[in-house]
Structure formats: structure tokens, C-alpha cells
């Protein structure tokens, strides 16, 4: 496992997985905030038939071709979801459920046909189900890394627009931004993030790398910029953990390990996130309770002191020095003391 740091090939794989996790987290932030967490899952499942058809048509295993096939299939899937929701009373979540299972079923059928037929070098295509970072070639890595960087740069450039799109698209349209176009662009970027992530994490689990880091990041901050960076960081960490552990222990698939790492991140965030986390909430409630008890005890004590003060003032003559001391401690003793002074002077 440690040879990762010395083996240049493994170092590349680690870097590639980190970049994939990073772009997934960044893009996923916007999907999550737009309440479209499931869209990543739909796109991922839809990518499988696209990849299979691309392979059947060309007989070549190449990330670039697979990307094109998956993009087209993803576009078809999102279009189907849009059409179903527009022309029926079916809600988006149900429509996505229908579409993603249909595309996945078609994908599995095609995959099985490929494996049982005489297509060229088909071995390794099934790795797309659960991902195998170690199966990436160095040229794959260049492509994936480049695409991942491009995604992050696009999100950086259109940060303001995507923020508006996620928060208040109607208002954005009123300001004159092409919201429909931006929405399609974000969907396209999500598809790309999913497709490049598939090789490392697999079709079934790639959605987790979009959503889990974003949800975890939300626990640590109330600022979109910080959240995007954190989601990217959590995604990169998960990707790195997946690549590292799976390349060390033979035959362990990368995807599930990455998802487990991302989920560990999520659990830690839920527990220890400031303000939103469970620990912070419990502590906050306890300290609020303690403060309230102290306050009500204080009120009672003050009432007692006041009563005692009145008693002593009536019994003895107050010197100025004593009065000042009490003034500082309890402002409302002040008036009582003065009232008593006036009372004694009369």
C-alpha cells in the first residue's frame, strides 16, 4: 500500500482519482442545492448503455469515445425526465426513477451481449459497474484530469450565475440571464463529471461522489464559496482513499471504497459540524439550559439581595462607599438604596 508514494504509475492513479473526486464534489454542490440530488444517479445509470453502444459501434475502449456515448445517453435521459414531468402529472423523482432503471436495464442487456459475443478486447468493460481506478491507463488519466480541471474552471467562471440559478432562477431570468441555457450547461457539466467519475467509481455508485461530499460540506459552513471548496476537498479525499486502498489490497473495487470514505466524512460532519452538527446542537442546548437556570437563579438571588438590602438599610445608616459597591453589583439596588436614604433623611 505504501508503494503508492514511490510507484509513479500509482501516483498518477491517485492524482487522477483525486481530481475526479474534486470535480464531482464541486459540481455536486450545485445539484444538491438545486434539490436535484437524484439527477446524478440518473445520468450515471444512463451512461452505461451509452458506453456499451459506443463500444459496440467502434470496438475500441477509449475514454473519449465513451464520454461521447455517455453524454448522448445522458442527454436522452434528462430529456425523457423533462418530457415526462412536463406532459404528465408525474413528479420529477418518480420520472427519474423510471428513466434511470430503464436505461440501466438496457445497459446491462447490452453489456451481457458484449461479454458473450466476439467483440475485440471487451475485458474490463464490466469494471464500469463498480469502477477500477487501477485499470486506468496514463492516457486515460490525462483525459480525465483535463476534463476534471475544465469542470472546476467552468464552475469558477460561472460561480455567480450558478449561485443565482440554484437560489432564485426566476429572479435571475428577470435580471436578463439566460437561465434555461445555464441550466442546460450545468446539466451538461454534471453529465461530464459523472462520466469521468465512472471509470474510478463505477456506474452504480458515482452519484455518491456528487452528493455525499456536498451534503457533508454543508455541515461546516454557511457560505456557498466555502461549501464548494470543502465539497471538492471531501470528494478528492474520498477519491484518494478509494484509489489508495483498492490498489493496495488486490481485487478490491475502487468505487465502494471511495463511497465508504465519503460516507465516513459525512458521518464525521453530521456529528462534529459546528452549529449544524449533532454534538454542537446537544452542547448548545445544554449550555442554553445552564444559562437559563443560572439566569433564573440570578433573578431569584437578586430579589433576595434586594430584600436583604432594604432590611439592612432600614436597620442601619448606609455610608456612600457601601452604596457605590452595591451600585456596581446591582443597578436596581441603587434606587432602593436611594429611596431609603431619602427616607432616612426626611
Amino acid at each position: 500500500m505504501l508503494n503508492l508514494l514511490t510507484d509513479p504509475n500509482l501516483r498518477w492513479i491517485l492524482l487522477g482519482s483525486m481530481l475526479l473526486g474534486l470535480s464531482g464534489g464541486v459540481i455536486g454542490t450545485f445539484s444538491y442545492l438545486r434539490k436535484q440530488s437524484l439527477i446524478g444517479d440518473t445520468l450515471a445509470h444512463a451512461a452505461l448503455p451509452g458506453i456499451c453502444i459506443a463500444f459496440m459501434l467502434t470496438g475500441v475502449k477509449s475514454v473519449g469515445l465513451f464520454l461521447v456515448g455517455a453524454l448522448l445517453a445522458g442527454a436522452a435521459a434528462t430529456l425523457s425526465v423533462t418530457l415526462i414531468t412536463r406532459y404528465s402529472r408525474i413528479k420529477p423523482d418518480a420520472a427519474m426513477g423510471i428513466v434511470l432503471s430503464l436505461f440501466f436495464a438496457v445497459g446491462i442487456v447490452l453489456l451481457t451481449r458484449i461479454q458473450h459475443s466476439s467483440y475485440g478486447n471487451q475485458s474490463g468493460l464490466d469494471k464500469f459497474l463498480f469502477g477500477q481506478a487501477a485499470s486506468m491507463t496514463s492516457s486515460d488519466l490525462y483525459t480525465l484530469g483535463g476534463v476534471a480541471l475544465l469542470l472546476v474552471i467552468a464552475c469558477g467562471l460561472l460561480y455567480k450565475e450558478f449561485k443565482l440559478l440554484s437560489f432564485d432562477p426566476g429572479y435571475g431570468r428577470g435580471l436578463g440571464f439566460p437561465m434555461g441555457l445555464l441550466e442546460q450547461l450545468l446539466l451538461g457539466l454534471t453529465t461530464v463529471a459523472v462520466v469521468v467519475g465512472i471509470q474510478a467509481v463505477g456506474v452504480v455508485l458515482v452519484a455518491a461522489l456528487l452528493i455525499t461530499p456536498a451534503v457533508s460540506a454543508r455541515y461546516w459552513t454557511d457560505r456557498l464559496g466555502v461549501m464548494t471548496v470543502l465539497a471538492g476537498l471531501f470528494g478528492a479525499l474520498s477519491g484518494a482513499a478509494g484509489a489508495w486502498i483498492s490498489s493496495g489490497v488486490s481485487q478490491l473495487p475502487t468505487g465502494p471504497i471511495s463511497v465508504l470514505a465519503a460516507t465516513a466524512c459525512f458521518v464525521a460532519s453530521v456529528l462534529f459540524g459546528p452549529r449544524r452538527g449533532l454534538a454542537a446542537k446537544l452542547l448548545g442546548r445544554r449550555s442554553a439550559r445552564r444559562r437559563w437556570l443560572a439566569e433564573s437563579a440570578g433573578v431569584a438571588a437578586r430579589a433576595n439581595i434586594q430584600a436583604a438590602m432594604q432590611a439592612t438599610a432600614q436597620a442601619a445608616v448606609l455610608t456612600d462607599g457601601q452604596a457605590n459597591v452595591h451600585d456596581n453589583a446591582h443597578p436596581n439596588v441603587h434606587s432602593a438604596a436611594h429611596a431609603n436614604e431619602r427616607g432616612t433623611s426626611v
Partner: protein, 261 residues
């Protein structure tokens, strides 16, 4: 703003018809709004008040008719228009601060790619100050009360620096302090030569707040100065069978009627 002249009304709507599915929600709506007016858009639920605003702003396609902003289509004079949507239209748990939301009002002026900078920040702070929210600039928006969220939306519209404003129920579910702040703001806008259309539900305050009213119920019932237009007969017409309730709530003390939203 160069093409504005005194004879062109800020808003002229003619023959506007809008349908969601089969049945038109708005039928042949025609009216004109004069400059420097606070206009209340009044009508029962489902009268198409919000739809009217959305259709004017191009957020809802119209079957026919047109709306002219200072004599030009909305697409041309978009920068002159500010819009305050209903508060419920967004998720307030979004990770952003009040100041950030107000800065969104400047996005249209920035255009694509450019990020808001120190100038936008300063302007947004001024707008927050105008609605009495300067102290809450860095608060996460879910930690604001309903009235404070409404004020943030108003500040965002102010930051747009428009001359014609549309506000969709800014008074809905806010406390007396916010209501007063909004009224003060409306009057300040008017003093600065702006025109404001407000969807409003509280009949008891219409006469106090607005110079003109637009009575709406699927079609325009009446449009004109409040004194001559906001009459019981016209209200009867606009509210139809619900007038019994309207008349009763008008007899109640103003405070009770004000809660009837």
C-alpha cells in the same frame, strides 16, 4: 433611461391573456400606470395577480397581448424593472448571507462572468441600511425572521436601481415593524420618482398606502385613483360572492382586519 419622456407611461398593458392549461387565468387585461405612483393590485385568491406580474416580466408566456415598459418591450427595458418575488419562492436554508442576496441585485449590471467587488458590496450595504437591516448583513439567511427576509428581498430590488418595481405580496406575514419599514420605503421610492406596483391583500390599508389601485379578478374590474376606484361597489364586483366576508372584516377594528391574511 435616455429614452424616457414624460408622455410615455412606465407600464402599459394591452390585451394580455394568459392561460396555464386550458382555461385563461387572465383575459384581455388592459391598463396603464402613470409615473410616480404607488399602485395596489387587489383581487381575491386566484384572480391572477401574481400571474399578471409574471406575464409582464416574461416569466409566464402569454397567449396574446403585450406589456410595454416605458414604451418598449420588457426585453429592451429590462434594466428599468425591479422585481420582489414572494418570499416562499426560494429556499432560505441556502448557504449565503443577507449581504450576498442583496448583491444579487447587481448581477444584471455586472453581466456574465464578472464577479461582484467592493463597489457592489458597498452599494448592497447601503440598500440593507435603507431597510434597517445593516446589522444583519452577515447573518445566514435562514437565521432571519420572516419580516427580515422580506426586507432583504426589498433591499435586493433596491440594489437593482430600477425605476419600475413589481412586488408580490411584500406585506404577507410580516410584523408591524416590517410593515412600517416597507411603507416608508415605498414612499421614499415614490419621492425619488419611481413607480411601484404591489400585490396587496389587506383591504383595510389600501386607502392609506396606495395612490392608485388595479382591481383584478381574471380581468380588469377597475383601474384608477384610489379615492374614485376603491369603492364598495367595485370591490363587490371584484370579490364576487366573497364580499359578505369582506364587508364584515371591514367593520372589524383595523388590527383584526390586518391579520386576516
Amino acid at each position: 433611461m435616455t429614452n424616457r419622456n414624460r408622455n410615455v407611461p412606465p407600464l402599459a398593458v394591452s390585451g394580455l391573456t394568459v392561460a396555464y392549461r386550458k382555461k385563461p387565468v387572465l383575459r384581455d387585461v388592459t391598463f396603464e400606470i402613470a409615473e410616480r405612483q404607488l399602485v395596489g393590485i387587489i383581487g381575491p385568491n386566484g384572480a391572477g395577480k401574481s400571474t399578471l406580474i409574471k406575464a409582464i416580466l416574461g416569466l409566464q408566456p402569454a397567449l396574446s397581448g403585450e406589456a410595454l415598459i416605458y414604451g418598449k418591450p420588457y426585453k429592451v427595458n429590462r434594466k428599468l424593472v425591479g422585481y420582489v418575488p414572494q418570499r416562499e419562492s426560494v429556499d432560505w436554508d441556502f448557504p449565503t448571507s443577507a449581504l450576498d442576496v442583496v448583491m444579487m441585485g447587481r448581477y444584471g449590471h455586472l453581466g456574465l462572468f464578472r464577479r461582484p467587488g467592493a463597489r457592489e458590496r458597498e452599494l448592497a450595504m447601503d440598500c440593507l441600511d435603507k431597510v434597517g437591516m445593516a446589522d444583519f448583513a452577515h447573518r445566514q439567511i435562514s437565521q432571519l425572521s420572516g419580516g427580515q427576509q422580506q426586507r432583504v428581498f426589498l433591499a435586493r430590488a433596491l440594489a437593482q436601481d430600477a425605476t419600475l418595481y413589481f412586488m408580490d405580496e411584500p406585506f404577507a406575514g410580516v410584523d408591524a415593524a416590517t410593515e412600517k419599514a416597507i411603507v416608508t420605503l415605498l414612499n421614499e421610492l415614490k419621492r425619488n420618482g419611481k413607480t411601484v406596483l404591489v400585490v396587496h391583500h389587506d383591504l383595510a390599508t389600501v386607502a392609506d398606502y396606495f395612490d392608485s389601485v388595479l382591481l383584478l379578478n381574471g380581468e380588469v374590474i377597475a383601474c384608477g385613483p384610489t379615492e374614485t376606484t376603491f369603492t364598495p361597489e367595485r370591490l363587490q364586483q371584484a370579490y364576487g360572492g366573497k364580499l359578505a366576508f369582506v364587508a364584515r372584516s371591514e367593520r372589524e377594528p383595523a388590527g383584526a382586519a390586518g391579520n386576516g391574511r
